[in-house]
């Protein structure tokens, strides 16, 4: 079934997984906003994405496009623990405003990815119907 195994599907799937994981970490931060000594965790994947793209030239005129090429972006998810910033006396550094923004941000990212996947599907659908 090569139809559903192209690069963009793989990427979108990875993106969805990563966004879901990021949301879980934000949930964890919000859940632990009154836990002493808890340090806020943050998930980064967009940075890795840019780094992978750096120095790679994508030429559109290249006629021999192959779908078997390695996924250009290996969506690597890194979780970092923020240290050094203290919000309260109990050594907890969860910034509730920041977490709420992350929550909304990731929700929109996830939504967008779903829409993209649906776009891919409708392309396939219209190809079938011709």
């Amino acid at each position: 079934m090569a139809l559903f195994e192209n690069t963009s599907f793989k990427l979108l799937q990875k993106g969805l997984d990563a966004a879901w994981y990021k949301q879980q970490v934000t949930l964890q931060n919000i859940a632990n906003d009154s836990t002493p000594y808890y340090k806020a965790k943050s998930v980064e994947f967009s940075a890795v994405l840019k780094e992978k793209f750096k120095g790679k030239k994508v030429s559109l005129s290249n006629a021999s496009y192959s779908d078997d090429i390695e996924t250009p972006i290996d969506l690597k998810v890194t979780t970092t623990v923020e240290r050094g910033t203290n919000q309260t006396l109990d050594e907890n550094n969860v910034d509730m405003e920041k977490e709420q923004v992350e929550l909304a941000d990731t929700q929109y990212l996830y939504s967008t990815l779903i829409d993209k996947i649906n776009g891919e599907f409708s392309m396939i659908k219209s190809a079938i119907q011709r």
Partner: protein, 143 residues
Amino acid sequence: MSFLSSLDISASALSAQRTRMDIIAQNIANADTIKTEDGTPYRRQLVVFEEKNSFKSYLGESRKKARPAGVKIAAVIKDESPLTPVYDPTNPEADKNGYIYMPNVDKTKETIDAMAASNSYNANITALNAIKAMASKALEIGK
């Protein structure tokens, strides 16, 4: 992707904050209790939260993607700060100098704590709704 375990993160926080609220209510209710079951004055209680993480993350199997699992109540401890002596020689519970000991409950502190618990509860409801909306959105794939 584990849909149900994601809900558990917020759910655990909701129940933890509710327990915290129960303890605060208990403290305020017993602010004037000078004799508990064991005969001593009531002491203020407080909850200690602890991060809950899945066991696998400690085994190093997936340290990069440690599964968050919410929060839990590690303990409910008694505040050992000194009790407030009040001079009341007619009270049958008074000691030989005529003092009774009032619980170390500070109602202002409890009220502030209750507000914090309530705010946390609301924040977790918002978080729960966000992940719920994401899960519903995922069901739209292929529609």
